[in-house]
Assembly symmetry: C2
Homo-oligomer: 381 residues x 2
């Protein structure tokens, strides 16, 4: 009588699969006995759930048990890096990218195709992306990995699987949900970069990831969860007002952060970020002034962001990572001067260690996150 | 064998109590049969849980069943307004307030004591608040209501039950958790006002509540939940930067919203909000200019807030409620001009219907919310 304890059997089994896989993910490897103790499930139930997860390829067994584990020695269960993988995809303004990541978060494959996607035809770019998916999926399969799902990072706003607006691509209302024949998700580049930082970067659980690109976005992570707002449009740091009557921004507003600290403002007549770094290193006055101005504007916009979002720390990523040595001073000074009395100390300012890879890694991480939250649904158990 | 279905009995019973009470709260009254169908619990389990809730005074029974309810006619279970109540408290700059609310969200009692709490001695004010608690609790008891808990709204930042900083009161690091002999919570005035708007005002589930007082705060509600940030310090709208090199603000920053749109800036030499409204109605030029300037600044700060927080709508409360006729134009114009191209339409701008009562009502609502989320713990079941 599955219903005799008051909750229907299927939904409880699905919930318990998620509890067990989540425990292994957070703190494994563990023996079945330890999993039973930690989850409050019976050993019989845990064994049955672990069998299903083993068969589906999500977990693996080994003789190694962590020191300090209670109970008699036994076989330990951990996430498997050998059978399942997820696919991260990214359309950016000047490249397409893909990566394949296994469940232990090891990057198994990484591909970038330079491209000029400004004011492009969506159909052309999506065709090219589909080729990249085929290529990387086939490579993953030849390494014995089954790709269980994919997610796509885009430089724009996303609602219900539709790319609503990506101004730098010149795209509006592009439906990408049926791009490929796999379980598929799509999200904003900054949200996924924040997830990338969480899963593949510092792995801290509370921060605001600032994505400096041609556009500037931010992804807030609180307690290990990305905050997305009401319509999934939160974190548009690039259009926080820095100077209310400042220069016109492409968004229709004036004096937005992007006008002062977006890639175009930072580069000026310089051709690339690498060249800008070269000029900064050689003490070029105009390059230094551009960084100083950008850092000052970032300090103002981040002050407003800290007051509204209350992040644990601030992580500068994208092109702000290589420019960090020149941005750190003006940004820190601005935050310190403006936030000092409201908070004992302003949130720590740090630089992302995974740089330009954050969004595409985060996309792969999103599908792993879905698998761990809902293994029954994602794996059809 | 309680554990035979895999989850321990006590935690499952606590969870099921919360599921049943939550269902009654969201969509009741319902018969036991309907509750069983909606929750996936067996009728036997539901009956036993309802008996406990009846005995504790959280629910009541009646013959009335809603039209369209499936199954044979029966006795319907709904939240009881007759036995349990919660206490909302507020320390504001110029008054202390208390209210008693029953579980049907009917306000049973409301008391306000005018006071001048600027730069006050915390011990004096807390003593007076304790008197107010005694008085209102006794009145509630004489009406047959048992007060199960209280929450306090304060005009400042709160961490771990400690009022960290309330600059207008001149208080720092004041411990109020052991104020009274009841389960007790404390939170920022703007967060609780947002909850008040959710539970007693429009009852919409997605909005940014803007609390205009001597300080300006904001509480974001997404999907019926108040967003609080990492340390509970989110929503400090009053210190969003409007003009980076504007006048000095008491927070140490410059050109913050509060400098342009806080109560002191709006009133100028006028003695009260009522007098300001009188002057506005008579077309006083200086009063109109102060509102225009405040509305313009609010439009700029709210543009930044919409980009970062992505609220469903914007609700102006506190002193902005009586001033709404004069603020609506400049705020709407600012939002429309700056947000137009990034979003189809900016979030709707509305005015709170519960005005100055939002925070104290929200405080009472917080305890009801805790009861519904964790009835086993709050009621000792």
């Amino acid at each position: 009588m599955p219903a005799s304890r008051g909750v229907r059997h299927d939904s409880m089994r699905a919930r318990n699969l998620s509890v067990v896989l989540g425990t292994i993910h957070r703190s494994g490897p563990h023996t079945r006995a330890a999993l039973a103790e930690m989850t409050g499930l019976t050993k019989t139930t845990v064994s049955s759930l672990v069998s299903d997860l083993l068969e589906a390829g999500a977990v693996t067994e080994s003789g190694a048990v962590r020191a300090g584990e209670r109970g008699r020695p036994g076989v330990a269960v951990s996430l498997s890096g050998h059978r399942l993988a997820t696919l991260g995809l990214e359309i950016n303004i000047d490249y397409l990218a893909a990566c394949v990541v296994d469940l232990t978060r090891t990057v198994r494959l990484r591909r970038t195709r330079p491209a000029d996607n400004r004011n492009s035809n969506p159909a052309d770019i999506l065709r090219e992306l589909r080729d990249l998916v085929k290529e990387t999926t086939a490579e993953a399969e030849s390494a014995g990995l089954r790709v269980i799902g994919a997610a796509l990072a885009v430089p724009g706003t996303v609602e219900d699987g539709v790319l609503r607006s990506a101004p730098h691509l010149g795209w509006r209302d592009v439906r990408v949900a049926d791009l490929i024949d796999l379980p598929f998700a799509i999200d904003n580049e900054a949200n996924l970069a924040a997830l990338g930082e969480l899963w593949f970067g510092s792995r801290e659980t509370d921060f605001l990831y600032v994505s400096g690109e041609i556009g500037i976005g931010a992804g807030l992570v609180v307690g290990g969860t990305v905050f997305k707002g009401t319509f999934g449009l939160a974190g548009e740091l690039g259009h926080v007002v820095v100077v209310p009557d400042g220069p016109a921004c492409r968004c229709g507003g004036r004096g937005c952060l992007e006008v002062y600290a977006g890639q175009d403002a930072l580069l000026g007549t310089v051709a690339s970020v690498a060249e800008l770094v070269g000029r900064l290193e050689s003490g070029d006055r105009r390059a230094l002034e551009a960084c100083e101005r950008a850092g000052h504007a970032l300090g103002v916009a981040l002050t407003s962001a800290v007051h509204l979002l209350d992040p644990g720390r601030i992580v500068l990523g994208g092109i702000y990572a290589p420019l960090y040595p020149w941005l750190e001073g003006p940004v820190s000074d601005g935050l310190g001067a403006r936030l000092g009395q409201m908070r004992g100390t302003p949130p720590a300012l740090t630089v992302s260690g995974i740089g330009a890879d954050a969004a595409v890694l985060g996309a792969a991480g999103l599908i792993i996150q879905q698998l761990i939250a809902e293994p029954a649904q994602v794996l059809g158990l």
